[in-house]
């Protein structure tokens, strides 16, 4: 099992993501600089971490989503490689079009950082299967632009196809239909604003995130 974390200029949860992956797989994640052009073929799971790639300039995730490595991520994700983006990583995935919709400025217009209760909207996905009977988890959120938008048609499709994976119990940012995390139509690409990698340690944020990583790793 080999995993990789992509590093963009001003990614800032890259180390946190790598720690989570190491904790679950027992193996160091490979750190891949955004100027690289290829994800090594033996990588089984790619995480696009949170942060402020390119300072969130222009639009969050926009500039990063056009970087060389992302081209290859898109190509491999379309062939089935599991790819997950958290926070800025979700924004980047939405900008590539791998995930539908867009992330807009929070409804309250302020950055919001707090532990957030999430309901598991689809417990059978590759990213939630290990949760068993658990219906609710707590992951921290920390973002300025996490207000998920998609047109009604897209939202209906997402809900109908079980592609809404997590919903906010107490919507912090105005996201449409309380959506916190979604996946693509094949279920291998996943994005959400909350940070599961910040919930892998009882001293810091709880351990609900461990099960999240376990789910996807076990599915591979």
């Amino acid at each position: 099992m080999k995993t990789a974390v992509i590093v963009f200029p001003a990614s800032n949860c890259d180390r946190d993501a790598a720690m989570a992956l190491e904790k679950v797989t027992g193996r160091k994640a490979e750190m891949i600089w955004h100027r690289e052009t290829e994800i090594p073929s033996d990588i089984d799971f790619v995480v696009i971490p949170g942060g402020f790639s390119y300072g969130d300039y222009l639009r969050c995730g926009a500039i990063a989503s056009r970087s060389p490595i992302v081209k290859d991520i898109v190509a491999k994700a379309e062939k089935g490689l599991p790819v997950a983006g958290f926070c800025n990583g979700f924004q980047i995935l939405a900008e590539t079009g791998l995930l539908p919709g867009a992330l807009m400025r929070n409804k309250g217009l302020k950055f919001v950082c707090r532990p957030e209760r999430l309901t598991i909207a689809n417990g059978n996905s590759r990213y939630t299967s290990a949760y068993g009977n658990t219906k609710e988890v707590v992951f921290p959120v920390a973002h300025h632009d996490g207000n998920y938008y998609a047109d009604d048609k897209t939202l209906n499709i997402l809900e109908k196809e079980g592609r809404v994976i997590f919903k906010y119990a107490d919507n912090p940012n105005g996201s449409a239909r309380d959506i916190a995390g979604i996946c693509n139509d094949h279920g291998n690409v996943f994005g959400m604003m909350p940070h599961p990698e910040r919930a892998i340690d009882p001293l810091h944020g709880g351990t609900d995130g461990l099960t999240f990583f376990k789910s996807i790793i076990e599915s591979i």
Partner: protein, 80 residues
Amino acid sequence: MKAIVHIGLKPGVLDPQGRAIARSLTDLGFDSVTGARQGKVIELDIKGNDAEKARQDVTDMCEKLLANTVIESYRIDIEN
């Protein structure tokens, strides 16, 4: 040459910033304001002086980077 790109949210996409601006303005007593929308302008310096070519290039830039066409629309002005 200069290209001025105006980028705004598509109609129907909720604009939390615009709404907040309208609300603050009425709070400040500017009752005549009935709505507000916020967009951005990107001003580009472009080499050369073929306006038609520049417009094509900038359209390409908008599609590839400057605008997110899921939520935004854009308009380009070329100035000499």
